[in-house]
């Protein structure tokens, strides 16, 4: 972010409620101009709503097997067909979406909280604290991510909770660097000096003064991270290390459909979970891009 613009935002946000609203409205207006982002938000809203309401919407028990009706094509009873054990694909997609989205959002919240806190402390205090924390980040980054994930999940026995925990503990480094960078530029600004002068505590300066100004890039990173976590969950589930049967997730539905015969004779089975992953991750990326543009004051000028 450019320096002058940050000042502007800071001053505005410190002032009256009315002006804040106008800042928000500027952001919203800018976001709405991005058609892809709006489309993404809209689509995602539908997907999330459907998944949240899965227990009421889903026409069948997602885990009920009817072996006599395996790999049935889409039709009036099974809207998207059935899987290799005769389970309703539509119901499984909705319930699987719950799992995938939960993993995505909760892991994001965890990673962003850890990353923001560590980045803020490192950037604000600098010196040895900074050096220590950033070396910690270096260490974590230098592990090949997917192998570390696979190892950890395998050792800890795969489950949704473990997945979330592992994702959160391994993925906060990007956010922490981002936040640290923001803090390095912001901590010597006048408003921080002013806050110090009136005797505000470090905690209040960090979380009350500087952090709100640094939130823009964090929000963008967080949005993109949700998509990333959904993909990571799919990858691990695909490898059999993620969500365990019979519970559905989009990733493990793809695993089960991994067979030449299914590709030839029941192409809907891998297609639908694949599409759901694709669309959802794409939506998060569109929204992330839209937010980046909306939150970045430089774009206003263009």
């Amino acid at each position: 972010m450019g320096k002058p613009e940050n000042n502007v935002i800071q001053q505005q946000s410190d002032q009256t409620l009315g002006k804040r609203r106008s800042l928000l409205s500027i952001i919203v207006a800018k976001f709405m101009q991005n058609k892809l982002a709006v489309f993404g938000l809209f689509t995602l809203a539908i997907i999330i709503t459907a998944c949240v309401l899965a227990p009421w919407i889903a026409p069948h028990d997602p885990n009920f097997q009817n072996l006599r009706n395996r790999l049935a094509p889409p039709g009036p009873e099974f809207w998207l067909g059935t899987d290799h054990l005769g389970r309703d694909l539509f119901s499984r997609l909705l319930h699987g979406g719950q799992v995938s989205l939960t993993v995505g959002f909760v892991a994001m919240l965890g990673a962003v909280s850890i990353g923001t806190t560590i980045g803020a402390i490192a950037g604000f205090f600098g010196g040895r604290v900074d050096a220590f924390l950033m070396r910690l980040v270096d260490v974590i980054i230098s592990f090949p991510n997917i192998f570390l994930l696979i190892t950890l999940v395998a050792v800890l026995e795969p489950s949704m909770e473990i997945l979330i925990l592992v994702f959160a503990l391994l993925s906060w480094t990007g956010t922490s660097r981002l936040v640290r960078g923001e803090f390095l530029t912001l901590k010597n600004r006048e408003f921080v000096l002013a806050a110090r002068t009136i005797g505000m505590s470090n905690t209040r300066i960090i979380f009350g003064q500087i952090l709100p100004s640094a939130m823009g890039p964090v929000i963008v990173a967080a949005t993109l991270a949700v998509g990333g976590f959904i993909l990571a969950e799919s990858t691990l589930s695909f490898l059999g290390l993620g969500i365990q049967p019979p519970r559905a997730s989009w990733g493990n539905m793809l695993t089960y459909s991994q067979s030449v015969t299914i590709f030839r004779t029941a192409v809907w089975y891998p297609t639908f979970p694949g599409l759901m992953i694709l669309i959802t991750v794409l939506c998060f990326n569109f929204i992330g891009d839209g937010l980046r543009d909306a939150l970045d004051p430089r774009v206003v000028e263009k």
Binding site: L67, G240, P245, P246, V260, R264, T265
Partner: protein, 548 residues
Amino acid sequence: MKATKSIFILVNLIFMLFMFLTACGTTPEDTDTAERGADEEVDEPTGDPQYGGTIVLGTSGEPVIFNALYHQDSASADVTDLIFAGLTYTDESLEVQPHIAKDNAEISDDGLEWTFELQEGVLFHDGEELTAHDVVFTYNIFLHEDYTGPRAGSFTSLESVEAVDDYTVKFTLREPDARFHTLTGYSILPEHILGDVPIGDLEDYNEFNIENPIGAGPFKFENWDPGQSLSLVAHEDYFEGRPYLDGVTFRFASDSNALVLLLETGDIDHMIAPTSELVAIETYEHVNLSSTLALRYDYIGWNLQNPLFEDVRVRQALTHAIDRQEITETVLEGQAEVAHAPVSPLSWAYNEDVARFDYDPDRALELLSEAGWEPGEDGILEKDGEKFSFTILSNDGNTTRRDIGIIVQQYLGQIGIEVKPEQMEWGAFLDKINPPNYDFDAIVLAWGLALDPDPSAIWHSKEIENGLNNISYRNDRIDEISDINTTIIDQDERAELLGEAWAILAEEQPYTFLYYPNQFVALNRDVQGFTHHPRVDMYKVNEWWLNR
């Protein structure tokens, strides 16, 4: 423990087989499948066999060692079966037939002396003749105290082996052993190459075992490029006549999906086809499918060390609650028969007359109730405040077993038993379920059976501590039958005794016997002369030829 080990080499083989979703076997008659052969498969351009061409075999298992005295996996066995020859072999009806030997053994009246006459002019790949001295050399390795391989236990009854002359070999047993004829098929090793290697070092003698194995079999080892391919070329002086094929190449692929795609493009000519891919393979016009009942059964094993499964009524109830007929008709596409006892219908010792626990959930609930299990508040069965809940484990990479775990979860869920299916990597899985860990509740697995039906290895209580009886089954009568059955030479008498064992095991249900599966081999139509063997994948490859 020793006896166990010998047979269980075979068992290990099976493990590997299962792992890759393959089994072995084929119908002798033709290359059409029994029920699913495509209608237009009337081709079979028969004609005189012709020489030439190289066949490419697709497999997902990489071999380890090319020495039948030491290998423990099916991928290595497939290769050694082509490179080496033994005194005898087992044909597709599971009868032992002479191979290098001129005829079956001449057995003395007391059953203790087995004499084989060898064919003359059998040459190793390096041109040296195979004689009785090589046979003696090979079998003495099994008897040697420094022998490090897994097969010593098979030969506990063998006292000595000696060469009467260059072409006559005599085995002397300590006691009659009904299994012994199935043990005479081991690969004969060349004494002129290995004679000076200390027996204790033989297993690690890679110059022979890996780099340059020399046998008297139909194909010579040429080259192995690990992870890629392994090639063998015809042995020009093979004693049964030069093989029709110029060579055999094994092509390694990561999994069955990759193999099916290679089959589709014609890059491989042969693969063991998983049942789940038959529908796709049937659509390939250039491929024939052959099927035969495999010498194996699949099962769910209940860990009898777990108090949940102590009561025989509970185990019977579990079997009653699982619709095996539906599983075979759907997941296995009808290509399996429901099993009721731990013996294959292919075996002469098969006994049909055993207790059956067909699908009957009401009866299952009755039995459970008799055993003290009643539904709790949440619908899950309880006894003394403990819930009926357990984990069913299988190895990953095997989709059929994974699915059976999930299916059983639903069947048992319907009568109020909570099941959690889990999968583990093969090595970790074996480590967890086998002694000394016994760390499982239930497992989905299969046994590829040894040619001899002796039940000792899996069911004798002495095999609990260190053998294959990892479910800790214990029954005095089974122990007794295991101990005496191999000393009974008369096959009918022995079959009757073994029939009693199968009946006891069927009644006690230490396993839920699932099914006897068919094995499918997918073959390019150009491949002729193929014979489907229920247990041996590389069977009479010297008679295969290419119509190209």
